[in-house]
């Protein structure tokens, strides 16, 4: 057993870390404050091959594995969550379903554009009354001679409403007890992206409600077999959890980085506060929990890369890291004292960005359901 990362993965970590520190960190505060979508950074991510990390080269991807993807997401989140979730939702949720379930024609049409970052992909599952309880999906698609006519609404959808958004895969009821996934390109008449939400965090990422009003797409926009939608999105969510769990580790690590640097600088009672036992205990606990959580995330990614079942581990990783991110962000703010409550310090943004990690991609309570089910409870 070997805990060293392969050289490729180390170099990917180094490259994304350098990129995050040099290109993202200087603009992260401004992007968050102005709620501006990071177009320039997404363009650079595309040029570096980071918008299609785990997809084969024949589809324009980088041909790397899930572990490489998790490491890249972790390093981006260490610096900024908005940029990270943009890449994460695009990869795990937007591109993944087309790669996994698409026909050769669908893959040829969409994957090169998606993996290069030329267009962004989105995934439309959540509805006002259906999220993890996706059996309750109300959006309907009926097939007639024109194709699929879609009516319904989706909410909390990432990446669907930017200038470069290209496509959304949505779940829709295609029969009484039948859910299917459909590909809906941006620009299709009847497909509307609502105003962006006013969120607690992830301010520079694009999140909107979507509506479909007699929106017609060709019959061949069905993704995979009719009625397979339920199984498909469960699988997509499993994979997505690895990405969101990597965000949790990254955010927690970023909070620790900031807290440690601040504690070594800030002096009180004649010495740096990092020399006080109360602060040391916080830093030590954070570092220990982060290391444990990171191993769990990497294990989930490795299981997936080895073609083994990773549902349980991915849910455990997601549960562990979401909570950890919230806790580390809070401790980091605490260590900063009053300055931690001021937006000029990154920990303030991290505190707001962390909370969604116990909610998005399945709440903690849903992860517990998944985990308990795997235990046979």
């Amino acid at each position: 057993m070997n805990f060293d990362l392969p050289d490729d993965h180390e170099l990917i970590r180094r490259t994304v870390r350098d990129f995050a520190e040099q290109e993202v960190a200087p603009v992260a505060e401004e992007l968050d404050r102005t709620k501006a979508f990071p177009y320039a950074i997404v363009k650079q991510l595309g040029e570096l091959g980071l918008m299609g990390i785990p997809f084969p080269e024949e589809y324009g991807g980088a041909g790397a594995d899930s572990l490489a993807y998790a490491i890249a997401v972790e390093e981006l989140t260490r610096v900024d969550s908005s940029v990270a979730i943009t890449l994460c939702a695009h990869t795990s949720l937007g591109t993944q379903p087309i790669y996994l379930f698409g026909s050769e024609e669908q893959k040829a049409e969409w994957l090169p554009k998606l993996t290069s970052g030329e267009v962004l992909g989105a995934f439309g599952l959540t509805e006002p009354e259906a999220g993890s309880d996706a059996g309750n999906v109300r959006t309907r698609a009926s097939l007639n001679e024109d194709g699929w006519t879609i009516n319904g609404a989706k909410q909390f959808i990432t990446n669907a409403g930017t200038d470069i958004s290209g496509v959304v895969c949505i779940t829709a009821r295609t029969g009484e007890d039948e859910i299917s996934n459909l590909i809906v390109p941006n620009g299709t008449p009847g497909y509307f992206q609502g105003e962006p939400y006013r969120k607690m965090g992830w301010n520079a990422s694009d999140t909107r409600p979507l509506t479909f009003e007699d929106c017609v797409v060709p019959e061949e926009n069905l993704l995979g077999p009719r009625g397979a939608g339920f199984k498909q999105f469960l699988h997509v969510l499993d994979i997505g959890r690895i990405g969101v769990a990597a965000m949790g580790v990254g955010l927690a690590q970023g909070a620790l980085d900031q807290a440690l640097a601040y504690a070594k600088e800030r002096r009180a009672f004649g010495k740096p506060i990092s020399k006080f036992q109360a602060i040391q205990a916080k830093l030590a606990d954070m570092a220990t929990e982060i290391e444990a959580a990171r191993l769990l995330v990497y294990k989930a990614a490795r299981l997936k890369d080895q073609g083994r079942n990773f549902t349980l581990t991915a849910a455990q990783a997601k549960l562990k890291t979401g909570r950890l991110a919230v806790r580390c962000a809070e401790e980091a703010v605490q260590i900063h004292g009053g300055y931690g409550y001021i937006e000029e310090y990154p920990v303030c943004r991290m505190y707001r960005d962390a909370k969604i990690l116990t909610i998005g991609e399945g709440t903690d309570e849903v992860q517990q359901m998944v985990i308990a089910r795997a235990l046979g409870a």
Binding site: D8, L11, I12, T15, L48, A62, G63, A64
Partner: protein, 264 residues
Amino acid sequence: MKICVLVKSVPEAGVTKRINPSTGRLERGGETRDNPFDTHAIEAAMQLKEGGELQVDEIVAVTMGPEAAAKALRKAVSLGADRSIHLSDEALAGSDVNGTGYALARVLATESPDLVLLGQQSDDGECYTIGAVVADHLQMPSLTQVIKIDVEGGALRCERQAEYGYDTVSIPLPAVISVGDAINEPRYPSLKAIMGAKKKPLETKSAADAGIEADRVGYDHARAHCAEFAEPPAKAAGQIIEDEDTSETVEKIVAWLDERKLLA
């Protein structure tokens, strides 16, 4: 023509550096990265190749160090070097600047490069001198701290950072040039290039393979040994002048500086 670029794996900048008191050497067990200055040297090589004024046929990355040091080579080839050479031998451990420069020069001699590029300093040793030592062994002209390279016929016209302003120097090839970080903005390696890097040839050489004489390298043959290490002395407490009357404050500061002959 062929360009060789010297690269080095160094401890991650954020990691607290420690000297092992029993060996007197820097502990290198922690997280490492490629020396940032060397990345500028690779970028300079790539820009000469892409500029097209010189016909650059091959860029070869070279490093010396233990097994883990090969990571710096992986980065170099992902940035565009065509192949790499790793000089690795237990006998080389603990070499001083003189021994390291000699050993690297032996490897470079087998390549007959038209130009050797390297970062002006390493993030760990910060000695700034390897380029000059290598050049001396190769009997090539050498420039250090170069921040601009232009092709001028078969020679290079370089700007070299000097104490006041810049020296502009023409240097014939072959030559050894160490570069500063102001020379360029290094590119990031793309993920595809990183994934493709392991397909590029990596040659590992022992000291004997490179024709290195054993009695000129390693800790025992180093001419310089560090006898002792000490923490930097603590700064003396400063003097705080309260600004009650500004013209009086200025006088006090000027007097303080004048007393220490710090005013020209």
